[in-house]
């Protein structure tokens, strides 16, 4: 499996590439550009963790601040997307720990919490319930696919996973999600 190198990280979205055929990614991105590339990936992941948009946005803001503080490490990371994801996940765990105080980390299980049920969440409650039955990686894959990200993007974001393995995992997750939804509806 090839590591997601910095060159990949600088790649612009496909639509832009298609429009501008002379585009050659040569210049490393500034912190601002890198952060703006990371936001669309972080948001669905945060959604799979917390289950509602408001908390997801807060979580993303904290993660972005952390990335700004660790600019050097973030921009020079082998997997910058995965580094950002890990930052966000750590912040989420910190929050979870603060809430539970005495609970052991293994007991947390990182299942999304759906405490703040809004109208939109009620509408998607069956989906959220089914997502909660998946592990964290599957949830991330499904969330990012739902947000319209490519497998390459998801691979960079997860880090340490081959494209083939990712596709298999995605198919399984889709099938189990459909099974779960079918069961709920039926």
């Amino acid at each position: 499996m090839e590591a997601t190198n910095l060159f990949d990280f600088y790649t612009l979205p496909k639509a832009t590439e298609a429009k501008d055929k002379t585009y050659k990614p040569s210049k490393p991105p500034t912190l601002k550009e890198a952060l703006k590339l990371i936001i669309p990936k972080l948001l669905p992941y945060a959604m799979t963790l917390v289950g509602n948009i408001d908390d997801a946005e807060d979580l993303c803001q904290e993660a972005l601040l952390k990335l700004m503080r660790n600019e050097e490490r973030f921009l020079n990371a082998e997997y910058p997307y995965a580094y950002a994801k890990k930052c966000l996940r750590n912040i989420f765990i910190d929050h979870y720990r603060q809430e539970l105080r005495t609970s052991h980390l293994e007991d947390i299980n990182l299942e999304p919490s759906y405490k703040h049920n809004l109208d939109a969440q009620l509408e998607h409650q069956d989906l959220l319930d089914c997502l909660a039955k998946h592990d964290e990686t599957d949830r991330t894959i499904l969330g990012m696919l739902g947000a319209g990200h490519s497998y390459q993007d998801i691979q960079r974001f997860l880090g340490g996973i081959s494209l083939v393995n990712l596709r298999v995992k995605a198919s399984r997750a889709r099938a189990t999600l459909a099974d779960c939804m079918e069961g709920k509806d039926g």
Binding site: L43, L145, V168, S171, R174, A175, A178, C180
Partner: protein, 203 residues
Amino acid sequence: MDKRLKLQVADYMDTGWTYQNNPELRAIIDSVSDGKDFYEALLKSQAKLKAFFSSKELTKSRKNLDAFVDNALKEEKKRSFLLPLNAFLVTSCALLFSLNLFMQPAEVVEKQPFFNLPETMPQPMVTVAESSSSLWQLADGLNEEMDASIYQVMFGIYLYNMDAFNLSMNSMRADKALIVPDKAFIKSLSQKTSKDFVKTFTT
């Protein structure tokens, strides 16, 4: 529908195939009784995923986060611009303060000297020896005032007015005015030396 078929259907759908546009996928779905149900559930779950993770709220949140990044980095830029300015101001203030510290003692010395010299210095007392009076008589009237022994006073007057004596302390000239030295000079003379000196003229 077994797991293998379900995975195959999910995989085909991932490549963009549908029941309508692909006969292979259609064949798999039609081969089992619950194939259609699974296919519909798969479509529904995908639609729900898309609706949930590509909602308007999420797009709005994304824009909010973009604005957040812009603001945060703008503030950082402002801070990075102000930092050298602040450093310059602090350094110049410190420099001025330290210069002021160096200047202050000179002013203080000028304003408050360690000692004050009187405008008029005390002048030595001048007296004219009468022909009848002797050095002893003169010194006898002064020793109490000078707070010194009579020998000290005599020795002091003699040292100050050597030209007013004819070699000996006993032969004082009447035409010469005697200058009486000040108290400090008299007191600075050793009592013993003064007495011994005076005695050399009396014996």
